[in-house]
């Protein structure tokens, strides 16, 4: 392709070509999320970054095989959020051109290369939490009442690199920046996603709870009891809730939120 077609209708094409050129410009390949993408004689090679030096990988040539690869974790758990750092290893996809590369990327990190391209050009539109919340209805309307503190804690629990590799670009609102490590990766996050909104809804429910004479809320006691039960069942037996199962105590993001909001109350001297 000699030249990118005109602007509005061709954002996807321009992004695709810019991404392919960015990959081709690096001899050692580029890291995007957990993927290492390298130019090779037949086109492009994609694999898990931790498989950089592996030679015995399951080989794929159909770019749409990326969908199956991105679907489940190593342990066979469903991945609702493709930017979670739990992509399975052990595969390589070889594609012939930039179009196929974009197709494979669209399943590994949906909309990732368009956002990457816009962000590099300083043109990525950002939607802050409050603006996004205004749009919510039905089950999720209650996130409109989440406090600023609640948004901050929810974002730290739900969006940092330990649980999501996107770089969080949105804020609480235009005057209230998020106080978190926004992420080191290449994939921008321009707006709270549906997993975050679902988590924010849960945090809003926590916020509304009252604490009894012990200083704990009902859900905090539920979580502590579940942790005790889990630990008492023996090492290796702990079964965590699924990634977006926020109504269950042993959910990683829910526990990250407790670490921010409950642990300081349990250990005030630290």
């Amino acid at each position: 392709m000699s030249e990118a077609p005109p602007e509005v209708s061709s954002l996807a094409a321009a992004s695709r070509e810019a991404f392919a050129a960015w990959v081709a410009a690096s001899a050692e390949g580029r890291l995007f999320g957990q993927i290492l993408i390298r130019r090779c004689s037949s086109g492009y090679s994609l694999r898990h970054a931790e498989d950089a030096g592996e030679s015995n990988l399951e080989a794929h040539e159909d770019p749409r095989s990326a969908r199956e690869i991105a679907k489940l974790t190593e342990r066979g758990e469903y991945r609702p959020l493709k930017s979670s750092p739990n992509l399975r290893r052990g595969w390589e996809i070889r594609v012939s051109d930039s179009v196929e590369l974009a197709v494979a990327m669209s399943y590994l990190y949906p909309a990732g290369i368009v956002h990457w391209h816009l962000h590099r050009g300083g043109r990525l539109g950002i939607t802050n939490f409050r603006e996004n919340a205004t749009r919510q209805s039905g089950l999720y309307k209650r996130v409109q009442r989440l406090s600023d503190r609640g948004v901050q804690d929810a974002a730290r629990a739900c969006c940092e690199d330990a649980v999501c590799l996107k770089k969080t670009l949105w804020d609480v609102d235009e005057r209230t920046p998020l106080e978190m490590r926004r992420g080191d990766g290449e994939i921008p996050c321009p707006e709270p996603c549906s997993v975050f909104i679902s988590f924010a809804r849960r945090v809003r429910l926590f916020e509304r709870e009252e604490r009894d004479e012990t200083g704990l809320s009902v859900s905090e006691k539920e979580d502590l009891a579940a942790l005790i039960e889990a630990a008492a069942s023996g090492a290796g037996e702990v079964e965590f809730a699924r990634e977006a199962e926020f109504e269950k105590p042993l959910n990683e993001r829910r526990m990250r939120y407790r670490r921010l909001t409950l642990v300081p109350r349990l250990r005030p001297e630290e």
Binding site: V8, S9, Y78, P110, R135, S198, A244
Partner: protein, 255 residues
């Protein structure tokens, strides 16, 4: 260039919900009718907020993989995609928004194909009732209405002694319908988009079904897979998109 965007509900918890959308998208890609076929979801990625940016085509057809007109098709999808009606102009792009699948004239044929698959090689004697099972909700009469509409359309073809409807979340409740229907054979077809908790767990448990064929007292109940996972739904989705091409674009200045 022409793009088809299929919008599904999706799930944060399992892959069942989005699977038919991916499978139908792949089937439609195979026909070559559209230059691009893209999946998008409410609960999965790419979100409706961002999917249109990933599409190259200027002519975009959006088909909701939903059974009935309601909260998602009337509020959530138009809001998230920024649609202004059946036809929306965005810069040089024209986005045409189709209605849900369940109300489409081709739906009874897909239901009957599902019945055909279930009953292939199976002999029955005595009266046979087809029972369409909908989710239903008292919050929106369209949810149940679309099931009644399909039952009426199939009834008009005179293929079964009886064609009845039953629901999970509104009257008439499906258990009572199956129990009370005056037929020896009951063909039960869930008018759902995807397999899931209801089709795999709550429905079989509540009705006491043990598989595709269950003897319940003097009745034999044949339990089919949901209509939405049938391969012919892909044709229905493409036809739904084609139909919207008849709408004239609203002339609007680019913003």
């Amino acid at each position: 260039m022409k793009a088809l965007v299929i919008v599904g509900h999706g799930s944060h918890l399992n892959e069942d919900s989005s699977l038919p959308v991916y499978e139908h998208a792949q089937r439609i890609r195979g026909t070559g009718e559209f230059d691009e076929v893209v999946e998008s979801f409410w609960k999965e990625e790419p979100s409706m907020r961002h999917v249109l940016d990933t599409v190259e085509s200027e002519e975009i057809y959006v088909v909701p993989a939903f059974i009935s007109e309601g909260y998602f098709t009337q509020q959530v999808i138009p809001r998230e995609l920024g649609l202004e009606g059946p036809v929306t102009r965005r810069g040089s792009k024209t986005v045409r928004y189709a209605g849900p699948l369940g109300t489409f004239e081709g739906m009874p044929d897909v239901i009957l194909e599902r019945v055909g698959d279930l009953m292939r090689g199976r002999k029955t004697s005595g009266r046979t009732a087809l029972v369409l099972l909908g989710h239903g909700t008292d919050l929106n009469k369209n949810s149940g209405g679309v099931i009644y509409m399909n039952a009426r359309r199939i009834r008009e073809r005179g293929l079964y002694d009886l064609v009845e409807v039953g629901f999970l979340d509104q009257e008439p409740e499906i258990g009572a319908v199956v129990e009370g229907v005056a037929a020896r054979n009951v063909i039960l077809i869930p008018v759902f988009i995807a397999e899931g908790w209801h089709t795999r767990e709550t429905i079989p448990e509540d009705l006491g079904l043990t598989g595709e064929v269950t003897l319940l007292g003097d009745k034999t109940v044949f339990y089919g897979a949901p209509v939405g996972t049938h391969p012919s739904m892909a044709n229905l989705i493409a036809a739904r998109a084609r139909e919207t091409a008849r709408e004239e674009p609203v002339v609007r200045s680019a913003t």
